[in-house]
Every structure is written in structure tokens, then in C-alpha cells.
Symmetry: C2
Subunit: 221 residues, 2 copies
DNA sequence: TATTCGAGTGAACACATGTTTACTCGACAA
DNA sequence: TTGTCGAGTAAACATGTGTTCACTCGAATA
């Protein structure tokens, strides 16, 4: 009979709450608990295992069924951050860019994006420079990938056609730095302060404009 | 007699270890203990009061004679960071800048400077994005002052004479971001990896070159 | 249907933590 | 010389911490 084969075909709709699904569910609960605590102003590197399990509604010992230690949870958060960044790029790619004021609209879209995923960006911005070396390094790798993809996209769009791949990557690195720095600023914006908000956006736009202006006149040497 | 006046003239060489001097001394011990722990790879926001006093060779309760809590110690570190940055600028000002390859030499000087004061820069780079909100904000203020001074210096040197003060400040902000980001990279360099080191320096130089190139072609509005 | 298997439990452990309290004891001003 | 004043001490406190262990109990398998 087909059912009793060694490989259970596909695990169809019946297994609504299979074991592995349930495990994955609480794994997610742990991740989200950590993010939620970050959202309450705490830095990831100052969170404790017990705090996280408490927030996740699970007993401390259960943590070890999913992660060896806090660093491993942190790496899961980094990966989530990486996915978020790739998704951002994918959206930007889809939207295309109107030639006029395209920088400004990109910035506004980015701002919204950051605000809607504030927890992940808080984590990235917060652990990027401090925290555990292994997490910091993982974030850096993610940033570099992000920069590479961005470079590829710019190339495909025909922007800055005269630049070498190396130069393009280096410039995208600069853009990424600026973006993540701006994310930090965006997240610390006091709400309902439109003036301050406007200033921040302007500053961000202008900085990117300077970078792309410089890129246009860049000559290899 | 001149000695018994109400105001003790000058606190001369005799009062080698006056009370206030001794207090200041252990205050410094606490600050340096925190820095030392940072140097061992820990982020400031994950340090504990007891850890710090232990490292400083002092009993936990003594901490409160100097700081209300860890945030207050953190602010002292921020101020120390501010002093460090101002000092950097003062040195750069003194050295003047040879017109050819001035960017590259500046970068090398900066790199050396960061390495020699690695602990302070570790602290700044680490708490800039994460950590306690009050510390983060204090660092941001310090950065802004640094950017302003830099703008003033550039103005005095006649660099970028066509830029408005606002534009100049905005560009210096970009430079500062890039510098602190690079500091983070410099501090994480594995030692005796000259190739990697060279790449990092090149990248840093190129990024700054792009920024200044963009600045030269910047037109308001 | 009977058996295995492993995610989550609850309790216990050996410490580490922040803060308070009453204290010592030496520099300093009177 | 005497008395004050305050930096640093020692001990105690109530909690919080990471990790371990034997356990339950229900879904997955055979």
C-alpha cells in the first residue's frame, strides 16, 4: 500500500499539528520573545535565557531543545534579518524607480519598511557594532551579501555603467552603512515630531545623493 | 602667615594624595575597569556592577560613592570618547594635510589612532547603535559635535568653499558615520593579516574619496 | 495495538546579581 | 589635639541566573 512506504510521501493537510510543526512553532515563539524584549528597549546582548523563555511562555529547560545557547538564537535572528534585507531589495526591484526624485521616494519606502519591521532592524542596528563577536561577524557577512545584491541590481538597471564591479561593491557598502545608520535614527525618532522627522529624511536623502554623485564621477586608479 | 589663609593657595606638591585626589583615583579605576572588560570582548551593556568593581579591586558598595548606576558610568565613558574624538581632530589640525594622497595618509593616521585607543573606540562603536537609550543618545550628541568641528575645520582650510554650512555639516555627518563604521572593522581585524588589512584601508580610503568627490559636485537644491 | 521517542515540565543545584546597612579608620579643618 | 566627615569595607538580603536531571504524556511509528 502506498501509505506504508518508508518515506511518508508528503505529510498532507491532515497532520495539522504534527510534531515537527509544533516544535517549529515554539522555536518561533522563542525568537519572537527575544525580539519582543528588544522592542521594549533592551539590547539583545543583555537578555537572559530565562527572560526569553518566560516571555515565550515556556520553561527554561525547553530552550535547549532548540538552541545550544543565546548565541545560537542570535544567529537565528541574524538570518531573519538577512531575509528581511533580501525582501527589501526584492520589493525595490519590483517597484522600479521613477527617474525624478527616485532617491527621495526610495528613502520614504525604506523608512516605512524599517518602521514596520522595527524589531528586526533594532536587533541589526544594535548588535552590528557591539554584542557577541560571532553575532557581529554574522551580521557583517549579511551586510556584505546585501551590498553585493544591490550592486548586481544597479548593474542590471544600467545605473553607473562605467564602474567596475569592485568599485560598485565598495559604493554599495557605503550605501548600506548609511542605510543601517539611518535605520537606527529612524527607530529612535520620537513619534509625532514631523519637523524632526522631515529633517532626518532630508539628511538621509542628501547623504545618499552625495554618495551617488561621487559614484558618478568616480574614476578607477 | 600666607599658609594659613582660607584658600590654600594652590594645593602644592605636598598634598600628594589628598582625599579628593584619592577619590578621583578610584573613580578612574572604575572607568578603566569597565574599559578593560570591554577590551576582553564583552559589550558594555552586558557588564555587571559587581564585575566592574571586582576588576577595579574595590567592594561593590563602593561603586555608589561615584556613580548612581551603570548608566552614569556609561556617560562618563561617553565623555571620555568625546574627548578622544576632539583630540583626534586637534592632531589632524596640527599636522596639516599634504595635498597629494592626503586622504590615504589621514586614514592611516586614523587607523593608528583607533588601534592605540582601541578600548574607547570599542565602546563607542559598540554602544552607538545598541545598549541603553540614554547612552546611545549621548554618543549621538558627541558625534554631532564632532561633525560640527570637522565642518568648521574644513571651512577654515578652504576645502569645499562653495558649500553652505548645512551641506557641509551633513557631509561631515556622513564622514563620521563612515569613520566609526571603519573603526569597528579595524578593531575586528585579525592581527598579522596584511592583505586583509590592506583591503580594509583601501576600501575606507575609496569610500571617503567617493564622499568628497560627491561633495565637490554638490549643488544646493 | 503496542512501543518508541522527544518536546516540554518541574524541581533542584550552585552561584551571581543589585542594593542596604552599620562599620572603620585616616585625612582634614577647627 | 580633637572631632567631623566621607571613601572604602564587610556582611547580609532577596532575587535572578544557567544548567542538570528524572519525569510525563501524546503523536508518530512499527
Amino acid at each position: 500500500m502506498a501509505k506504508s512506504q518508508t518515506k511518508p510521501a508528503k505529510a498532507d493537510a491532515v497532520s495539522r499539528s504534527s510534531r515537527v510543526e509544533l516544535k517549529e512553532r515554539t522555536r518561533l515563539r522563542l525568537i519572537e520573545a527575544a525580539l519582543s524584549l528588544i522592542g521594549q528597549g533592551r539590547g539583545y546582548s543583555s537578555l537572559s535565557l530565562r527572560e526569553i523563555t518566560r516571555e515565550a511562555g515556556v520553561v527554561p529547560a525547553a530552550f535547549y531543545r532548540h538552541f545550544r545557547d543565546l548565541d545560537e538564537l542570535g544567529l537565528a535572528l541574524v538570518e531573519m534579518g538577512g531575509v528581511t534585507l533580501r525582501h527589501l531589495l526584492r520589493e525595490a526591484r519590483r517597484d522600479g524607480l521613477s527617474p525624478t526624485d527616485m532617491l527621495r521616494t526610495s528613502v520614504l519606502i525604506y523608512k516605512r519598511y524599517v518602521e514596520e519591521r522595527s524589531l528586526v532592524f533594532r536587533f541589526l542596528a544594535g548588535e552590528r557594532g557591539g554584542g557577541s563577536p560571532v553575532i557581529r561577524q554574522a551580521i557583517r557577512t549579511e551586510e556584505s551579501h546585501f551590498a553585493s545584491e544591490m550592486a548586481q541590481d544597479l548593474r542590471a538597471l544600467g545605473t553607473l555603467p562605467d564602474l567596475s564591479s569592485n568599485a560598485l561593491h565598495m559604493i554599495c557598502g557605503l550605501v548600506v552603512t548609511t542605510m543601517l545608520n539611518a535605520a537606527s535614527d529612524i527607530l529612535d525618532l520620537p513619534k509625532s515630531r514631523p519637523k524632526q522627522e522631515q529633517e532626518l529624511v532630508d539628511n538621509f536623502v542628501h547623504q545618499l545623493r552625495v554618495v551617488f554623485l561621487g559614484a558618478r564621477f568616480w574614476r578607477e586608479r
